[in-house]
Amino acid sequence: MERIPILRMGDLLLVTIQVDMHDRLAMTLQDDLTERIVRDRAKGVLIDISALDLVDSFIGRMISNTAAMARVLDAQTVVVGMQPAVAITLVELGLTLHGVKTALNVEKGMALLGKTNL
């Protein structure tokens, strides 16, 4: 089954979503990330969505849930690279991604994670 690859950089997990995800794939990613956070004792998760031209409620909830589970496992999540059209659509949809930190790009995202990890 296709899976979205998760890279590890020190105590940081990096995911780059580049495909148009169907719901099952999104759920698999959520499960995989949670498992890897525990297995790799990760302190930070960086989700790069700069290639996504669509984020709907299901993907939005997947991101929120992932961040919530990461927090429970004592890891920070940052989502980077949201496209303006996607952001505007999410605001219109009423999806707030509450509890999820965001940054404009990977560089800023890593800086954000570095700052909060003591």
Binding site: V55, A85, E92, L93, T96
Partner: protein, 155 residues
């Protein structure tokens, strides 16, 4: 096209009559699996680009299509969608009609209220989808099914 559907979806609604004269290039797509949703997104994106919708409007339309397609599958037990090009002499648009023979929505008023922030709206996200498009119509009868019609016009 209907060979791809396991069985015909039958739901009589005067929603189908709306702007009947302006609809062309109808594509009929099945909605049964996750992959069908992904395929629909591609088709809708192509149609949106074809009428030169702005990037934001494209995204809004494709997102609304994704939401409604998911509803059809998860709550309607699967169904299909009609994808049309619209032209009324002044402007061009893209229209979608989602149909299923599911249980129907008992309280439309409640369903149309915001589904994300407060948890109302029965989780169908209809209120949100409605805001993403220019025209939104819904016809639902308990025990028979649901039809949702949306249109996005080129501004």
């Amino acid at each position: 096209m209907s060979a791809a559907l396991n069985h015909a979806v039958v739901f009589e609604s005067d929603l189908f009559e709306r702007h009947r004269h302006f609809r062309t290039d109808r594509a009929t797509l099945p909605l049964r699996s996750d992959e069908d949703v992904v395929a629909l997104r591609k088709h809708v994106r192509e149609r949106a680009v074809a009428i030169a919708l702005s990037l934001v409007d494209q995204t809004k339309l494709v997102t609304a299509a994704s939401e409604l397609a998911r509803n059809t599958i998860k709550y309607g037990g699967g169904g299909m969608v009609y994808l049309d090009a619209l032209e009324d002499g002044f402007r061009k648009g893209v229209g979608l009609i989602f149909v299923d023979n599911g249980p129907g929505i008992p309280d439309l008023g409640l369903a149309l209220r915001d589904g994300y922030t407060t948890g109302g709206g029965l989780g169908l996200g209809l209120g949100g989808s409605k805001r993403l498009v220019d025209e939104f119509d819904i016809d639902s009868r308990t025990g028979e099914g649901t039809a949702v019609s949306v249109i996005k016009w080129k501004r």
